[in-house]
Symmetry: C2
Subunit: 402 residues, 2 copies
C-alpha cells in the first residue's frame, strides 16, 4: 500500500457531492473569505467556523457554522464535519488545538507548530535555540526586569506574549514607570531591544505535510503607526544575498517547526543590513495578499494545497512588481460618497487596479479591504495603490497618502 | 442632481450589511459559480437562483434561492431581493425577461438585447440587417425548404433556433430525408451553408450601461465534435487586421443591440480569410475562462462591473499567451484514481497550471472543469493543458489528448 493510498484512507469523510475532502477554517475573517474564494477553483467549498453571520467569510461562504473559537465543544462539533482543520487566526487556545488532534482530527498547522505563532516567548526561545537571528529580549515579571534589560538605554519595546496584532500588544516605553500600567493585566510580557530599522520585510513560504516548500519573493512591508499600510513585492533593491537569507530563514523555520500551510516570517532589516525575525504567522498573511494577482499561485490556494496535502503550486511572479495597499477605514467627511460610489469612481480612475473588499463595517482604523496593482513601474504602482486605497477608505482624495 | 446620484437612487435596496447593491444571477451553473468567486473581491455575495442545491454555484454561494428559471413566479420572487438581475444561461423565456423589466426590475442584459442570444433566427436577421457578415441561411418549415436551400450542394447545417449549446441542436445533413426526423419537435429550425473553415474564433467584449466597451484579445476556440476543447489566447498567428475586424464586429454588435455585460461573439474564419458571425452569448463564456489568470480583469469581474454600472476594468494581458483546456468528464477505467487523487497528481506534474473544478457529477462528456496555463511558450502550454485536462477527466494518461 503506497503513501497515496494511506493518505486517502486517513481522510475522515470526503464531501459526498464533490468526492473531495472538506477543509474547515476556524475564524470568519477576511483570510477565510479569500481562502473560500480560492477554494472554489479547487472544487471545494470552505467550511467556516464564524462568531457571527456578519463576519467577512460568513457573508460569502455556503458552509458556515456559528460558534466560538474559544469553546472546545464548538470546535469539536465543527471539526466533526471536516477532513482537515485549519485557522484564520492565532486565537484558538493552544490546549484546544492539542485536544482536537488528540481526538483524532487532522489539524494543520499542528499544535506544536502553531504554538510558535501564538506565543512570542515560546517562539523567541525556540528560534534562539535554533541559532536564528532574533532581537535581544527577556521575559518580564516586573518593571524592574524592564529597567534591568534597558540598562539605561531607552526606549525599549514591551510586548504581550499572546494576542497582539496590528500594533496592538506592542508598547515602546522610555522608563520603568511606563511599564507599570501594562503589568497585572494577566497577559505575560516580554521586553525587546528597539532595533535600529532600515525597513521591515516579510518572507512568506508554504510547506506541505511531505516537507515540500515553496517561497514567494521576499517583500517589503511599509508600516505606519505599527500597522502595515503597503506591501512591495519583491522588496525594492534587495540584494540577492539578503533575499536568499530571508527565504532560507523562513524555509528553515517552516521545516524545524513542522509547519503545514502558509508561514509568514516578519523580519527586521537592521540599519547595518542584518536580518532579525520579528513575528511568525501560520496562515495566509496580509504581506502576501499581492499573490492573488501577482503570482501564479496565491497564498490562499497554496495554504489549501498544503493542508489538503496536494503538491504546492508554482509561486512564480506574473509581473516584475506587485504592490498592495491596505484600505484602513477612515472617518468619511460629511457628504462623502458611499462605498458603492467610491468603488465606481475608483474603477474609473484606476481601471488597472484590483479591489478587494471584505464586507466589514468601516470602523475607523479597521482593515476593510485592499487594492493591488501589478506591472513594471514600481513608483506608479505605489502612487496609484496608495491613492486608490486612501480614496476607498474615506471617499476623500484630500486624505489620500502619496 | 448628477448622474451618479440618480443612479444610486434607482437601486432597489442595497445590502444593509455591505452598503453595496445586490446582484442576482439566474442559473446555478459554473458561470454563476465563477461569478460568485469574482463577486467576493468586489465586496459582493452573488445571489443565485438555482434549480437544485447540488448545482455548481449553489455548492459555494451563501445566497442561494431554489426555483425554476422557467417560472415567472420564481423569477419575480428572486428579483425582489436583488438590485440587478443577470443570467448564467439563455434559457429564461424571453416573455419572462420582458415581464420582469416591465415590473420595474433592472435586468441586464435587457430583454431586447438578450433575445439575440436566445433566438438564432432573430439574431441572423438583425445582424444581416446591420450589414454584419453571417453565413448564408434560411428559415426551415419543411424538408423541401432545406432541399431548396441546398440546391444540390450538400451537406448543409440545420440548427434549432432556440435552446442549443455545446453541439446540441446542430445537425449536419446530407439529404432532405435526414431533415424529416428533426421536424415536428416543436422547435423552429433554420438552415445554413456549411462554411469552409480555417478555424473558429471568439471575440469577447464587455459593455457598460453608459456604453463603455472593453475587448479582450480575439481567441481561437479549438473544437472537437462540436464542443470547444481548448481556447488559445490570443488566436495564434492572427493578423492585426483580422483581429481588429473581429473586435470591431463584437463591439458593434454590443452597441447596436444595447448589450450590458459580457458579450461573446463566436466567429468562423473561412478558408479565404473572411469572418462570419456564428453565435452570440450575453454572459461570461467558455471562450474567456482564460481571463481569470491571463488578463488583469476576468470576464466574471467584468460582467459584474458592467451590470453594477461600474466603469470596466482593464482587459490587458498579463502574459504573452494563455491556454485553457476544458475538462470533459470521461469514463474512468476500473481502478482509476478518484478526483482528489487526480488533483494531487496533476499538481505534482504541472505545478504551473491552474485547475478549476465546478463541483459537478462527472457524467461522460460533461464539462466538469477547466485547466489554464499562462506563459511565453504556446506549444508547451497547449501540450500541458491538454494533458492535464485529459488526466483530470479520466485519471488515465492513456486518454490524454496531445
Amino acid at each position: 500500500m503506497g503513501a497515496e493510498t494511506a493518505r486517502a484512507d486517513s481522510l475522515a469523510g470526503m464531501d459526498p457531492t464533490t468526492g473531495l475532502p472538506v477543509v474547515g477554517m476556524v475564524g470568519g475573517g477576511q483570510l477565510a473569505r479569500m481562502t473560500h474564494q480560492a477554494a472554489i477553483a479547487l472544487g471545494q467549498s470552505l467550511r467556516v467556523l464564524a462568531g457571527s453571520p456578519e463576519e467577512s467569510a460568513a457573508l460569502v461562504a455556503r458552509d458556515v457554522v456559528l460558534g466560538a473559537h474559544t469553546s472546545y465543544a464548538d470546535l469539536a462539533a465543527f471539526a466533526a464535519g471536516c477532513d482537515v482543520l485549519t485557522f484564520d487566526h492565532e486565537q484558538v487556545p493552544p490546549e484546544h488545538v492539542r485536544a482536537l488532534a488528540a481526538a483524532g482530527h487532522t489539524v494543520l498547522p499542528g499544535a506544536d507548530a502553531l504554538l510558535h505563532a501564538q506565543d512570542k516567548r515560546v517562539m523567541r526561545e525556540r528560534l534562539g535555540a535554533l541559532g536564528l537571528p532574533v532581537p535581544r529580549w527577556a521575559p518580564v515579571g516586573s518593571a524592574g526586569d524592564v529597567e534591568a534589560f534597558a540598562a539605561g538605554v531607552w526606549p525599549v519595546v514591551v510586548k504581550a506574549v499572546r494576542g497582539g496584532y496590528d500594533g496592538r500588544g506592542v508598547w515602546t516605553v522610555s522608563s520603568a514607570a511606563e511599564v507599570e500600567p501594562l503589568l497585572g493585566t494577566g497577559t505575560p510580557l516580554l521586553v525587546e531591544e528597539r532595533v535600529p530599522l532600515r525597513r521591515e520585510l516579510a518572507a512568506v513560504v508554504a510547506r506541505s505535510p511531505f516537507g515540500q516548500g515553496a517561497a514567494w519573493p521576499v517583500v517589503e512591508t511599509v508600516q505606519r503607526d505599527g500597522i502595515c499600510v503597503a506591501v512591495l513585492a519583491p522588496a525594492p533593491g534587495i540584494s540577492a544575498e539578503l533575499a536568499e537569507e530571508a527565504e532560507r530563514i523562513a524555509l528553515r523555520v517552516a521545516g524545524e517547526l513542522g509547519v503545514v500551510g502558509v508561514l509568514a516570517v516578519e523580519l527586521f532589516e537592521r540599519t547595518d543590513g542584518a536580518l532579525l525575525v520579528n513575528e511568525l504567522a501560520m496562515r495566509p498573511h496580509n504581506s502576501a495578499h499581492w499573490t492573488i494577482e501577482g503570482a501564479l499561485t496565491s497564498q490562499f490556494e497554496q495554504h489549501l494545497r498544503a493542508v489538503l496535502d496536494y503538491p504546492l503550486g508554482s509561486p512564480a511572479l506574473v509581473a516584475p512588481h506587485a504592490v498592495m495597499a491596505n484600505v484602513l477605514a477612515g472617518s468619511p467627511p460629511p457628504g462623502a460618497p458611499g462605498l458603492d460610489e467610491r468603488v465606481h469612481h475608483l474603477s474609473a480612475r484606476w481601471p488597472h487596479l484590483k479591489v478587494h473588499l471584505y464586507g466589514k463595517q468601516p470602523r475607523p482604523g479597521r482593515k476593510i479591504g485592499h487594492v493591488t496593482g501589478i506591472g513594471a513601474d514600481l513608483d506608479a504602482l505605489r502612487r496609484d495603490t496608495a491613492a486608490a486605497a486612501g480614496y476607498l477608505a474615506t471617499g476623500s482624495s484630500a486624505e489620500v497618502a502619496h
